[in-house]
Amino acid sequence: MNKKQLMLAALSATLAGSLAACSGKDSADGRDGGAAGDKTKIVYWTGDRHDSEFIKEKVDDFNRTNTDGIEVELVVKGDDFDQALDMSFQTSEAPDVIRVKENTIQTFYKKGYLAPIDDYLSDELRAKFPQMDALNSFDGKRYSLPNYGTTMRLIYNKELFQKAGIANPPTTLAELVSDAKKITAVGKANGEYGFAQNFKSPGSALGRSARVIAEISGFGGFGYDFKAARYDFTPFKPIIEAFKQMRDDGSMLPGVESLDIDPLRAQFAEGKIGMYLSFSAEAGVYQSQFPAKIEWAAAPAPSIDGNVKGASGFLGGQWLAISSQSAHKDAAWTFMSYMYGDPILQQYQEKGFGISMVPSVSEVAAKPEVYGIDGFLPNAHDGVWPVYPAVPVQGAKSDDVFFKYILDGGDLDALIADLNKRYTTALDAAIASGDVVAEPDADFDPAKLAGQYAS
């Protein structure tokens, strides 16, 4: 009996202790609120981690120097950013300023999270920041402005290429396959392999590899044909076959099917991987998080047959947006226009957090101070693709179907025919219900997308 009473007493003591702690904090906050008086408090959510120290410093500067009595609270979220944002809107605790990304802004717009900023935009700002449909503008209204963009490249280990006697990075699928084979043949005894991709998530792996190979070859990176306004995965056939060939040759790192992006990067930094395809953010990772022990560089992604008929995707077009639920939209804009000022945008590129997408900034900003960034800078083949209509397809997604073929084989033509059928059905249903608009564009020329951002 005594023991039990003791236990209960201890529990209630803990309880009372924490309660006191909580209420203590609450009252402290109350005092703070009182003293701060009429400060307008706005909350800014970002999912970016690579630039968080820099952004924090800039937010602190703003809080110290702004004369409008605005105080910004920076909240850095992790990979649960989207889910957290959904929750915050459902519970009316939404942030005022939201970091939007290439693959989230459409969803956030459709969910009604974003407020148009046209009223705040002067003609000068309109001209300075390129307008891009579905990337920062919807139905003629602007919701965000570009800051930096991300390029996609083949990232390769120069030392392994040299060892295998390969002079230049591959420019065709055939070279990709044979280079991977050569590197593996020379290096396998040391645990060095020609190719890897983070196939633990086929969507993430193919979204940074097959996608850009298709795009630079002139095809939509997600199987959408902008000319016909139809889904057609046929162009992916040679790409997926090349991947399968590398897998069958044993040129891929063992266990590639359960490889996540970070272990991949760590092995690349150790010098164990010949090449892989990914985004320009990799340069920063090898500078700070996984210091690369090898000479490496980035090169344009190979095309299917050496003919560049499209544009290597330059992703971006948006950065910050104002929440539709914000009670302090004016203050949020004041902060946003501070963040979009030339000094910050310029430093953003120079410190290597991203490659500027604002023409007036990229003209003056110096090259980023990051090893290996040169290969990532936009060239004549980089360009911004229009946004494809996302549809809720029934059954297996294209990435999963393709990866299954890479591992298990099968009849690729039949698989592609089935994908085309299912994606088209979903597209037609989405058009019929008014969820998406998809109209053929006979003049669409992917080659014309390239070049505007060449430095």
């Binding site: 529990l11 309880l15 909580c22 690579h50 968080s52 990979d79 920063g284």
Partner: protein, 275 residues
Amino acid sequence: MRLVWKAALWAFLLIAAFLTLFPILVTILGSFKTNAELTAGATILPSSWQLRNYAEAWRQAKFSTYTLNSLFVSAASTVGILLVSSMAAYVVDRMAFPGKRLYVGMQAFTMFVAIGAVVLRPQFELMIRLHLHDSLWGVVLILISAHASAFFILYSFMSGIPKELDEAALIDGCSRGRTFMRIVVPLLTPGLGVCALFAFRGAWNEYLLPFVFTLSKPELQTLTVGLASLKYGISAASQTHLMMAGACLSIVPMLAVYLFANKSFMQMTAGSLKG
């Protein structure tokens, strides 16, 4: 013969203990490595011991602030779950009343469904009406409401306690309530102990609930929310080394609770209490 048995038993136990501890050993050693060394694998011992991982994790996950919040949520919901489910288990096992099957079926149903965060929205709207949406009490109430497994465990333990005992007490003139508190609850200690431990652990590890309920009050966040912030960042690699250090740190309070529960409940058998 006896000796052979004993040796075999110990060999089995030691191998099992080694296999159980090995991944934890890897975690602890990993928490002292650099991110690059840890993520690349290949080494068991850190090539240089990174004590600063712990300092970083402590600072970034705001351990000192959040631990108290976590303790509060876990302790309060544990007490609540034990109370609510032992009372229900008592009447379901000992009394006859209409609707009993329906109640048991309903508890079972809540265990069959798992739609995760989708139920958060109606729960949150209810809490707004109760004005508990930005306090940890809301979290505690929702955690207490999920007591189906505690109920079933205690229900089964309850049926192992001889009915003659409480009948004798009733005949002695003890009320039902007193019988429950004085006779049944003490006999239930092993079951209550293990349920308390599981309830505490469940609350300690709960992530989404405290996260949602503290969106506007970051000072009320719990440790899991702080730990999650160590995890990934977009456009960068995850800080696995800090995650590991944070995980090792957060084991410590939980282990203390285990030792406490083990000492308080699981030492005594129902028989020894009687004497």
